[in-house]
């Protein structure tokens, strides 16, 4: 097993520059999540690693070997396409066996491996069927099986769960983590879903506007997002961002948010008075009170009930905050609601550059 090193990738399609200098490393044996919004260039990067596209500039290394000019059929990469790309004219068995046959393994060896990976992905009962005859979730498992069946230098997953039913997606996440760990190997998993990333990844590389804006161990990056972009995209639910003005002098940071003034004693910073900051508050860190009327008063805009959780959108003097409640909670729009903000859970970002100034010390649930 080797590290996969991506160095300085540049790629443009017609007039649009998609990759503007992307560099990162995927550690051997670990699952590295390639994270970014739709269109950020994740698929392009995976395709370049697989050898299906050539970068305008930059190199790819598998360990010490520069593979940039090696064609895909010689790179020994396992790739799971977003569209699955199964061979419609072959059975599930033949689809999975395909990379092994290309390697020239004996029939019995092929049979052994196919049966093993089918067992792993729980698709042993559909081996004789054609792709057209099975469900979307099953096709995705076949696509993953086809990639995992060989001993690849690196396994690449291009948002394989995106085309699936929401419910199936959730169920697959836990199962997949087990399967991937059991298989072992260096893996790069592309997604735009923060929950998926957190569930599956060991490390993360965050892509935005064609460059890498953060990389590292996944929970570290989650808990200490180095700027507002990372904080906004890589959070679930999305972090609330409020503009504020620094009102402190001396040791304690005091921020005026308009509808309230917050003291943040944990922030050991010295900030210029009147400088602009952005305060980040996770929807999970806001408490609500209805009867006691303690805290900041706001008006409910809408509530989104998602499964067994609720997001409440609240308006406070023209500002909008989202609060997360881990149960089904209904409240009518227009009702008053009181919010409790904990200064222990506040993130501070520079108002101009967006860079992280302070993050809460204790990771929260």
């Amino acid at each position: 097993m080797v590290n996969i090193i991506v160095k300085d990738l540049y790629k443009r399609f017609r007039k649009k520059e998609v990759l503007k200098g992307v560099s990162f490393e995927a550690q051997e044996g670990k699952i590295t999540v390639l994270f970014g919004p739709v269109g950020a260039g994740k698929t392009t990067i995976l395709r370049i690693i697989a050898g299906l596209e050539k970068p305008d500039k930059g190199k790819i290394f598998f360990g010490d070997i520069d593979v940039t000019n090696i064609p895909p059929q010689e790179r020994n990469v396992g790739l799971v396409f977003q569209t699955f790309a199964l061979y419609p004219h072959m059975s599930v068995y033949e689809n999975i066996a395909s990379p092994l046959k290309a390697m020239g393994l004996t029939q019995s060896e092929v049979d052994k491996r196919v049966k093993w990976v089918a067992e792993l992905l729980r698709i042993s009962n559909i081996l004789e069927k054609r792709p057209a005859e099975i469900s979307g979730g099953q096709r995705q498992r076949v696509a993953i099986a086809r990639a995992l069946v060989k001993d690849a230098t690196v396994y690449l997953f291009d948002e394989p769960l995106t085309n699936l039913d929401y419910k199936i997606r959730e169920a697959m996440r836990g199962e997949l983590k087990k399967i991937l760990k059991e298989r072992g190997g260096t893996m790069i998993w592309a997604t735009s879903d923060p929950q998926e990333a957190l569930a599956l990844g060991d490390n993360i590389v965050i892509l935005y506007d064609g460059t890498v804006v953060a990389q590292g161990e996944i929970h570290e990056v989650y808990n200490k997002p180095n700027n507002t972009i990372v904080a906004k995209y890589f959070s679930y639910p999305t972090m609330n961002m409020l503009e504020g003005v620094v009102k402190s002098k001396g040791d304690v940071v005091v921020v005026d948010l308009g509808f309230t003034v917050m003291e943040i004693p944990q922030a050991k910073l010295s900030l210029e008075a009147e400088s602009k900051v952005i305060v980040g508050i996770r929807p999970t860190s806001i408490g609500i009170s209805l009867t006691n009327k303690r805290g900041i008063e706001g008006t409910v805009l809408i509530t989104e009930v998602l499964g067994s959780e609720t997001l409440i959108h609240v308006d406070i003097e023209g500002r909008r905050l989202v609060i997360y409640v881990p149960e089904i909670f209904r409240i009518q729009p227009g009702n008053k609601i009181w919010l409790l903000l904990d200064s222990n859970q506040i993130y501070l970002f520079d108002g101009l550059t967006g860079k992280l100034l302070h993050a809460p010390g204790v990771p929260h649930g």
């Binding site: 050898g51 299906l52 050539k54 000019n69 064609p71 895909p72």
Partner: protein, 287 residues
């Protein structure tokens, strides 16, 4: 680079050889047309444009230009008209099987060798045994289908029969390409079949008109088998290809090559702008 250059050439080599031969042919035509080479003068003296002078001074050649040009214009007009009519009629039927069956039926003349069609039509045009018999039976005029200039009109009519179904096919392909939601929203707005065709489908089918015109022009420029079979070297139906072949058969190679070059130039002017633009658009799916 998915495919190494070496492997690429290995796979594509034979085709490249053929394509290069054909391009070489074009070049060689141009060269030959500027020499004095013929059976009577087997020397490759370079005479520049003198051959073309000879060519365009030949009354016969000018005649063939007129005939071919007339053929092209009329085939475009009537071929497109009848093709569109047939296509619109077939399109009214929703069932794909019926459409396919009808289309195949009207295309059948293209499956028959043109020589065989020529045999049939030569007899249909026969003054004694052909159409005239039946026309006089119902009291309509009799025509001398193949005498003088009538021959040209008759043969152009035959070519409409041969190619009309194919042109209808082109229009149908264009109709099928009209996005379904445009048709559906027109229907929801209450359009009847007639309005639908006139206001929605036909305007979207400019591609069909373009293709129909280009193919008709190409068919007219290549016209040889039909007139050669029916009327052999009759001057009223002599197309440019027939002229060229005539010179070639008599080994007057340089004039033949000059006529060929002229033919190639005309086709190129018509087709290449549309072809390269069209090919890239369709094949590469550039949106």
């Amino acid at each position: 680079m998915v495919l190494k250059l070496k492997t690429f050439f290995l796979l594509a080599f034979p085709v490249f050889v053929f394509v290069i031969i054909l391009w070489y042919g074009i070049g060689w035509n141009i060269y030959l047309s500027m020499t004095s080479y013929s059976m009577y003068n087997p020397r490759y003296d370079f005479v520049w444009l003198k051959t073309y002078n000879e060519l365009f001074s030949d009354k016969d050649f000018i005649n063939t230009i007129k005939i071919t040009f007339t053929w092209a214009v009329l085939l475009v007009l009537f071929g497109n008209f009848i093709g569109l009519l047939i296509a619109v009629s077939i399109f009214q039927f929703e069932n794909a099987k019926i459409r396919s069956l009808l289309t195949s039926y009207f295309v059948y003349p293209l499956a028959i060798p043109l020589v065989a069609s020529g045999v049939i039509w030569r007899w249909l045009f026969d003054s004694v045994k052909g159409f005239n018999v039946y026309l006089s039976r119902i009291g309509v005029f009799k025509a001398d289908w193949l005498s003088g200039w009538n021959a040209l009109w008759s043969l152009i009519g035959v070519s409409v029969w041969i190619y009309g179904g194919f042109i209808a096919l082109l229009y149908l392909a264009a109709f099928y390409n009209v996005p379904r939601d445009i048709i559906d929203s027109a229907l929801v707005d209450g359009a009847d079949a007639f309005t639908l065709m006139v206001k929605v489908v036909i305007p979207q089918s400019k591609l069909g008109l373009l293709l129909g015109t280009i193919f008709s022009l190409l068919f007219a420029l290549q016209m040889f088998d039909l007139p050669y079979t029916i009327l052999f070297t009759n001057p009223f139906t002599m197309t440019m290809v027939m002229y060229m072949y005539n010179k070639f058969a008599y080994m007057i190679v340089n004039i033949s090559a000059a006529a060929c070059t002229f033919l190639i130039a005309v086709s190129a002017m018509i087709v290449i702008p549309y072809a390269t633009y069209g090919i890239r658009k369709w094949i590469l799916k550039v949106i």
